[in-house]
């Protein structure tokens, strides 16, 4: 779960990390007033997704009237498909140097890692590939965690003068504490700047919270849904793992890997998946869950054909079949449904579905080819 920039910056300030002077605005009028007061400003759309700069979500102005135009545009059009409910207006900072600093999880080393560079404002993974000598990586031993020498080692690497080390140590330990206290996957300052007065300021702020830990952070858990499209939100409310895609073949699978593989296979055979929907729920796919999933896709106007791919193992295929059939009966919209069934009582399941005229397959390739063909219709 990604915190919005202004939320992340509030957390930063609570941990003693300086951020630019700024105001959160929820209307063009507020933006106008903010720019009038702050002078040369940056207006940043608050959306839970990266790449906002390239998409026009970050704009500079010192003119309050222009600020109104920019803000109206952002509020109306949104950024990268997300509605903009708020923009952060910040006083432009006089920048001396741009640095990079983050704390994240090194999956390979299975430890927390600091990444730092004297080159800020760039994507760190790209930089690490192109100029590895410019990126310092310090893995924290899981036994020890953070200790102040880590901050000193980084400060010395990025060439901060010893007079700034105290301030830098506060930032470095702040990032680590946020990482732990918020169960974060990533806490990033990019760029961290040395301003013209020699102070260290976080120009941007990114905090990704581990979804599996959200139960320990009830205040954040409620924010999760804003990362979702409307479509995703209603699917998640029904308890499915769901991601919207831009195709037209609705996909239901059980298990994340199998569902992704089904999407890939659709594309392989020339179709385009409309979504990722995993009905898996630990105990196998029950009749009701399958029914709800199928209904959801049938009601989705983008979906032309629904493809159900169940490799159940323990799942009872007659149950799955009953779910599909009930969905078909209950849904007001009629669309073709292709079902691939594998698991206990597979034959019985196939019989139930063939009774109502559906295509049922054991071979997944055949099922996908059929769905693609029907969608071309």
């Amino acid at each position: 779960m990604r915190l919005l920039e202004y939320e992340a910056k509030q957390v930063f300030r609570e941990y003693g990390i300086k951020t630019p002077e700024g105001v959160l605005c929820r209307s063009p009028v507020e933006v106008k007033e903010a720019v009038a007061r702050l002078g040369e400003s940056v207006i940043k759309a608050q959306v839970p997704v990266g790449g906002r700069g390239l998409a026009g979500g970050v704009r500079f102005t010192s003119d309050p009237e222009e600020a109104v135009r920019i803000a109206s545009e952002l509020f109306e059009r949104g950024v990268r498909g997300y509605r903009v409910d708020a923009v952060l207006v910040e006083k432009k900072v006089c920048v001396n140097r741009e640095l990079y600093l983050s704390v994240t999880v090194d999956r390979s080393a299975k430890s927390i890692v600091y990444l730092a560079s004297r080159l800020g404002g760039v994507e760190i993974e790209e930089l690490a590939k192109k100029k590895p000598e410019e990126v310092l990586k310090i893995n924290l031993d899981p036994f020890i965690g953070y200790s102040p020498f880590v901050a000193r080692t980084i400060a010395s690497f990025i060439g901060l003068p010893p007079s700034a080390w105290g301030e830098f140590e506060r930032i470095a330990v702040g990032l680590y504490r946020i990482m732990i206290d918020y169960d974060a996957e990533l806490v990033e300052i990019n760029p961290l700047v040395v301003d013209c007065g020699g102070s260290l300021v976080a120009l941007d702020a990114k905090i990704l919270v581990d979804d599996n830990s959200l139960y320990r952070h009830p205040a954040l858990a409620g924010l999760k849904s804003r990362e979702l499209t409307e479509e995703e939100r209603s699917a998640r409310e029904k308890g499915f793992t769901y991601v919207s895609l831009d195709g037209y073949i609705g996909v239901i699978g059980n298990g994340a890997g199998l569902t992704m593989a089904t999407m890939d296979l659709i594309e392989y055979y020339g179709g385009k998946p409309a979504n990722f929907l995993d009905v898996w729920s630990g105990g196998g796919a029950s009749r009701d869950r399958v029914k709800e999933a199928v209904k959801l896709l049938l009601e989705n106007p983008r979906v032309k054909v629904v493809l159900v791919n169940i490799f159940g193992g323990m799942t009872r295929c007659d149950e799955v079949a009953m779910g599909v059939r009930q969905a078909l009966e209950e849904a007001p919209v009629k669309k073709p449904i292709v079902v691939r069934l594998m698991g206990t009582n597979q034959e019985e399941g196939a019989r139930i579905l063939r009774e109502v005229g559906l295509d049922v397959y054991e071979d997944v390739d055949e099922a996908v080819r059929k769905a693609v063909e029907l969608a071309r219709g």
């Binding site: 999956r107 299975k110 927390i112 139960y215």
Partner: protein
């Protein structure tokens, strides 16, 4: 390999719905389950298996325990794993899904420091067809054979097993390393074990987007002098960036872990990448036909 029919297993969280159900299936498969553990349920029985309050008590009663299969809910799984480690269990299969990231980090690092093997978390477990099963995979799709499977996915690996079984190649052993960002085993470590397994002639790697397990395996593989042939399949070619595709581990973020990078790394190391699961047996057979021994 990691386990065989003599492996003495306990089930942690045995009295829960899943724990109880899969205990039954494992027993039917022949897995030697010697005890169950659920705090506060000591003294009861599950499918004829005696339940204890603590791992220490269980071991005190039944003697040596080689492995534990953990069904304990996400909030308590970390504690259950530590309990097994502290009581000397050397192999811990963590079926549980949804364990907080930082707890995974702690438990995995700690296990490493104690030379304990963790399979998972968020794994279907491991199976040695015809020998034993420490997990939840549907055993009827795993016919004994010559192909080792190492996978980050659950149901997808069942599909692979079934394709291999019906093709006649069969499965020598299948290990689910788990779908989370941090797992106890990676492909390199499982492959090392498969290299030493006499039954395994070929290896299928079932990867997915996110992380760099596949890339690191490719690098490792290309540096090996003695190897068994590997065929890979990677799920998630059509997945968008920065969206979590079900598994916590299956997310392309910070430019890391996209499909192309993985396929490129594998192919450059001489590992063929199947575009469809159903191709896998064919690719193996074509490799087999080129081997002159």
């Amino acid at each position: 390999m990691l386990a065989d029919r003599s492996t003495r297993v306990i089930v942690q969280g045995i009295t829960g719905k899943e724990g109880s159900f899969h205990t039954k299936l494992m027993l039917e498969y022949g897995t030697r389950i010697v005890a169950g553990v659920t705090p506060g349920k000591g003294g009861s029985q599950v499918h004829g298996v005696r339940v204890y309050d603590t791992v220490r008590e269980a071991i005190g009663e039944v003697g040596r325990v080689d492995a534990s299969v953990v069904f304990v809910p996400a909030k308590n799984a970390h504690d259950a794993v530590l309990e097994s480690i502290e009581n000397g269990v050397r192999l811990i299969v963590v079926i549980t899904e949804g364990i907080p990231l930082h707890e995974e980090l702690r438990m995995v690092s700690y296990a490493r420091s104690r030379s304990v093997t963790i399979v998972g978390p968020n794994t279907p477990g491991l199976i040695v067809p015809g020998e034993t099963k420490l997990g939840i995979m549907p055993a009827n799709y795993y016919k004994p054979g010559v192909v080792g499977i190492m996978s980050r996915s659950g149901t997808l690996s069942y599909e692979v097993a079934w394709q291999l079984s019906r093709s006649g190649l069969g499965v020598s052993v299948a290990v689910g390393i788990g779908g989370d960002p941090v797992t106890g085993l990676d492909f390199v470590e499982v492959y090392d074990k498969l290299l030493k397994d006499p039954r395994t002639k070929y290896v299928v790697l079932v990867g997915e987007i996110g992380g760099d397990y596949e890339e690191r395996f490719a690098k490792y593989y290309s540096g090996l002098s003695e190897k068994k042939p590997v065929v890979a399949y990677i799920a998630g070619r059509t997945a968008p960036r920065e969206k979590r595709m079900g598994h916590a581990g299956a997310i392309i973020s910070m430019g890391l872990g996209d499909y192309e990078s993985k396929v490129k790394a594998l192919q450059e190391s001489g590992i063929p990448v199947a575009r469809r699961v159903s191709e896998i047996p064919t690719v193996i057979q074509s490799i087999a036909s080129k081997q002159y021994f």
